[in-house]
């Protein structure tokens, strides 16, 4: 026991750690104060949260902001804008044209729900809405691709424009898939990762196909 008396913490060894304070204790004060704030502040706070998540999708680093504070505003905006841009104005023709608004909407939301259920059934630890949030936000690169495709189609619709569109859509498809797997892959059991990633690949492939085959009437 004599040795214990010699133990002393040298001054050059840093002592470090984390002290976390439970967050919940703040909420009564928060509710009280957000009731009095101007509406502009409330809206800007939500818009900033959505915008921050967009940035996280475009530069998918290992941050948990997308997962922790999920919201479905971003996916809704992206889905609606993508579905609107996929309308070629062919509503009055009876050709077998591109997908209707409702079809795009259903494919995106139903597809995201099915993929989420699939990953949960395979033993994933992510929650339902977090997964929906990630899958919805990762449609952003494809929405950008759709915008670029429409602009390119305004210039012309020959072979050159097709090649440009093909390259853009393929690149954005790869970006979407990589971004969503970067966020979702950690929550899956290790020997089933491929089983979870494949449906995500199929989902973004179908959306990319719809974007690539868009032809204005």
């Amino acid at each position: 026991f004599a040795d214990l008396a010699d133990v002393s913490i040298a001054e050059d060894i840093p002592v470090e750690g984390e002290i976390t304070v439970p967050v919940g204790s703040r909420s009564p004060d928060d509710d009280y104060s957000t009731l009095d704030e101007p509406v502009r502040d409330t809206i800007m706070r939500d818009l900033k949260a959505v915008g921050k998540k967009f940035v996280h999708v475009m530069y998918p680093k290992k941050s948990s902001a997308l997962l922790r504070d999920w919201d479905l505003w971003g996916p809704l905006v992206l889905c609606v804008s993508l579905a609107l841009m996929l309308q070629g104005g062919s509503a009055d023709s009876k050709d077998d044209g591109g997908p209707q608004f409702a079809e795009v909407f259903v494919i995106i939301w139903f597809g995201a729900v099915v993929i989420t259920l699939n990953s949960k059934l395979l033993g994933g630890t992510i929650s339902f809405f977090q997964s929906l949030c990630v899958l919805g936000y990762c449609v952003l690169p494809l929405t950008v691709a759709m915008l670029v495709c429409r602009l390119v189609l305004l210039a012309g619709s020959g072979t050159v424009s097709f090649i440009i569109r093909l390259i853009v859509v393929v690149a954005m498809f790869g970006w979407s898939t990589l971004a969503s797997t970067a966020f979702l892959a950690d929550s899956q059991p290790p020997n089933r990762k491929a089983l979870v990633v494949y449906p995500i690949f199929l989902f973004y492939f179908v959306i990319s196909w719809m974007i690539l085959t868009f032809t204005p009437q």
Partner: protein
């Protein structure tokens, strides 16, 4: 559990020969992987061999414990790893003569992952390939305007999911009815039949991609080839279940299975893929008011 131990020891003492004869590469690798995960279950596999009716009942007792309205009940049907799914796909494409797909690969662990996602992939593959093939066939014609034909996705989905779920339902009902009349040694649960049908559709995915080639001969050769492969897997799976029955009924059942499988392939080929046209220009008929009508040959 004393009797179980005795039986296991007797079998272990006796036929090492039979256990070796059924060991194939897939099963050896599966055993090696399995040893890392569930040692108890894989040891039973080795000792009891393929005569796993005892094991099936034991495991059936263990597995079906959650009530059907809970999430855990459905999680039981997704209890597969990546290598298991890949093995099952491989087993559905390369039929091993004399081996039964259900006994060899499914082994009382039917999953719904394979059937569901193989059907989904097949739906989109057929729609996309059909669209691409039509585009290439009609490319260069002045009157052709490309349309994505998105309606066909929902038609394909209805057809393929109906085949993958209603035909197993009908087959299962039929086999149950025959079982009540004639005692069959081999009987399958509904999910095992769904599993076999789902995995047997996998061969049509590369076939649909190759159907883009606009040659009639190539397409029909592909149909025959894929039908032989997956049809033989289905036949070898279901023949043991009906062979103890009346000869004519057994042959009729197996014949119907193969016929429906062929109908699905031919139907998809006919509906989603336009016929590749021959290489002469279409005749132009001048009409009295000055417009010309180009007829398809």
């Amino acid at each position: 559990f004393a009797e179980f131990d005795d039986a296991a020891n007797l079998l272990a003492a006796n036929p090492d020969a039979t256990t070796i004869s059924i060991d194939e590469p897939a099963e050896i690798s599966k055993n090696q992987h399995g040893r890392l995960q569930e040692p108890g279950r894989e040891e039973d596999d080795e000792l009891l061999g393929t005569d796993d009716s005892d094991k099936t009942e034991l495991l059936a007792g263990q597995k079906k414990s959650a009530p059907f309205w809970t999430f855990d009940y459905y999680q039981m049907f997704f209890d597969v790893d990546t290598y298991q799914v890949l093995d099952r796909i491989k087993g559905s494409v390369f039929p091993v003569p004399g081996k039964n797909f259900v006994r060899l690969y499914i082994r009382s662990n039917p999953d719904l992952y394979g059937p569901f996602w193989i059907c989904a992939t097949l739906v989109f593959t057929i729609a996309v390939s059909g669209n691409l093939s039509n585009f290439f066939i009609h490319l260069g014609k002045p009157t052709y305007h490309y349309v994505p034909e998105f309606r066909k996705v929902s038609i394909a989905a209805t057809a393929i999911y109906a085949y993958a779920w209603l035909v197993p339902l009908a087959l299962w009902g039929f086999l149950m009815w025959r079982n009540s009349k004639v005692m069959n040694i081999v009987s399958y649960s509904f999910l095992e039949i769904v599993c076999v049908y789902g995995y047997s559709l996998f061969i049509y995915i590369p076939t649909a991609i190759l159907w883009i080639i606009p040659q009639k001969v190539v397409r029909w050769v592909l149909v025959m080839f894929s039908l032989c492969l997956s049809g033989s897997v289905l036949v070898m799976t279901f023949w043991p279940a009906v062979r103890d029955d009346n000869r004519r009924i057994a042959l009729a059942t197996v014949g119907t299975i193969v016929l429906l499988h062929a109908l699905l392939a031919v139907g998809c080929l006919a509906y989603f893929f336009d016929a590749p046209e021959l290489d002469f220009p279409a005749p132009i008929i001048p009409v009295h008011n000055g417009t010309t009508i180009i007829t398809k040959s």
